[in-house]
């Protein structure tokens, strides 16, 4: 199953794995659980070494991808998998901002991340680079869809064998967007949490590199690049407030780790950042724990249109709640109807077509502004993590139909007039 383990480069900065609970450390192996407390493991770095070698200039001179931040990523060799992942646009919003009443709103648009149009390409690029270093020849994942797309695509690029596990009821675009890369796809009859549990058992016995199980400490570090890029794109400064979706809670907490590492290494000035999170009401164990002031998560059984973030038993849920409390942020949920409206609002005001997770985040952004929990002057960054073309089912019936006409001028003119009338009626309805 495995090949020889790669030689560690002199420039590698990561030193060991440490438990998120208790003072336990581990070697840099494909493991994700503390044997003593069963808590998740996290990668530790030699920050002095990073500070001595990395400057804004060295980063800016690096590749136009996540690998410009390589010193902050847990890879040991020079041979990284670079498929152009990262450095997605940070768009200054005018129309959505005006609609919401915000003065400094930015959209981090990972709906156009490469190669598979979601933020998952960041974590997978790191995980598969590390998988190769650790000698794995077969890689795998438990996925709600986006991760399967990304793992299959980047494994194809890297020439790794790939077997992915997804819930059987995923959107067609997410399934097709995996199958095209020709991995083995296991569509499991059950929800994501059941898929995840099955994969934990497989990971222990098959000797595969599961990007979000035994490689999870390395994989999740890739999400820090969403923090690094925003800081760099804002002109080497931190925002006041970020709003991001919460599924497992990993992305949400790693954005903070990214900002704090930049502070620690002298790349940006320190300042308080507020972290707010978005969940779908039909799967909101973290939002519920936050609202009820709990420091533990009660798992739920997901029932929402936002399948990509439907994790009922989130691995980093407790850390997400802690982070919102520590930073004066909020974790809020949105109904399926609000999620659809969120998708449409972002599309109509900014020309960005996001999937259900992005709809959730926009809906929650709107709620937080309306509740006075985001001030108009705050520099706010909203994270759009996936592409709407993958979840077309979600908006079927909620958008208009094309006007079918004859290839004749008068047919067009009649249809155009009718369209104008319909639009006026729409406006009248709004005015009433």
């Amino acid at each position: 199953m495995t090949q020889a383990i790669a030689k560690r480069s002199e420039s590698a900065t990561f030193t060991h794995l440490k438990s998120k609970e208790g003072d336990y450390t581990y070697d840099l192996l494909p493991i994700n659980i503390c044997e003593n407390t069963f808590a998740p493991l996290e990668v530790a770095y030699d920050y002095d070494k990073i500070r001595d070698t990395v400057t804004r200039e060295t980063i800016a001179a690096g590749p136009h991808s996540i690998w410009r931040y390589r010193a902050f990523l847990p890879v040991a060799t020079d041979n990284v998998i670079d498929v152009g992942t990262g450095m997605t646009p940070l768009v200054k919003s005018t129309r959505l901002a005006r609609r919401l009443g915000l003065k400094n709103l930015y959209i981090k648009n990972d709906a156009v991340n490469m190669p598979t149009l979601s933020f998952k390409d960041r974590v997978v690029s790191v995980a598969l680079t590390r998988a190769r270093e650790l000698g794995f020849s077969t890689v795998s994942c438990a996925s709600t869809g986006n991760l399967a797309n990304s793992t299959a695509a980047i494994a194809a690029h890297a020439g790794l064998e790939c077997c992915v596990f997804i819930p059987a009821d995923l959107e067609a675009g997410k399934v097709l967007g995996t199958l095209i890369y020709n991995p083995t796809v296991m569509a499991v009859k059950g929800n994501y949490d059941q898929v995840n549990r099955l994969c934990s058992e497989v990971a222990n016995t098959y000797g595969w590199g599961f990007v979000n199980i035994n490689l999870r400490p390395y994989y999740s570090e890739g999400s820090k690049t969403l923090g690094f890029e925003v800081a760099e794109q804002l002109g080497w400064q931190l925002p006041d407030h970020i709003v991001a979706p919460i599924a497992s809670g990993s992305l949400y907490t790693k954005i903070r780790k990214g900002f704090e590492e930049f502070v620690q290494c002298g790349l940006v000035e320190d300042k308080p950042v507020r972290y707010s999170g978005a969940q779908a009401e039909g799967c909101s164990p973290v939002a519920q724990a936050f609202k009820e002031g709990r420091d533990f998560i009660n798992p739920v059984k997901p029932n929402t249109v936002a399948k990509s973030i439907a994790i009922g038993n989130p691995a980093d849920g407790v850390y997400a709640v802690e982070q919102a409390n520590e930073t004066n942020g909020h974790i809020e949920s949105a109904t399926d109807a609000e999620i659809i409206e969120g998708i449409k609002l972002l599309a109509e005001t900014e020309g960005i077509f996001t999937e259900t997770a992005g709809g959730t985040t926009i809906a929650v952004l709107k709620k937080l502004v309306e509740a006075g929990k985001i001030s108009p002057d705050e520099t706010t960054v909203v994270y759009i993590t996936g592409n709407g073309l993958k979840t077309q089912e979600a908006i079927q019936g909620y958008i208009s139909e094309p006007l079918t006409i004859e290839a004749k001028l008068d047919s067009f003119e009649r249809a155009w007039e009718r369209a104008q009338t319909l639009e006026r009626l729409d406006w009248q309805q709004v005015l009433v």
């Binding site: 659980i33 949490d193 407790v318």
Partner: protein, 91 residues
Amino acid sequence: MAIKVLVPTPLQKFTNNQAVIETTGGTINEMIDQLETACPGIKARICDESGKPRRFLNLYVNSEDIRFLDGPETALTDGDEVSIVPAVAGG
């Protein structure tokens, strides 16, 4: 009555490297006590100082998370299968 317990790798040092242990117990709590008798030291790893299962440990009875049942008081019957699954990953 026999309960089958699936033991994860990090706990197998207490079970002579056995992945499956047969034990008894009318509830999850009793099952953990029985397990401790057969495999001394294992309870301190499964439970925290207050005696409750650690927050990162997931216990399932026949594939259902005990947090959807009656927690550590969940009743067990002959032939039940209990899985101990450390730290959920995923996401």
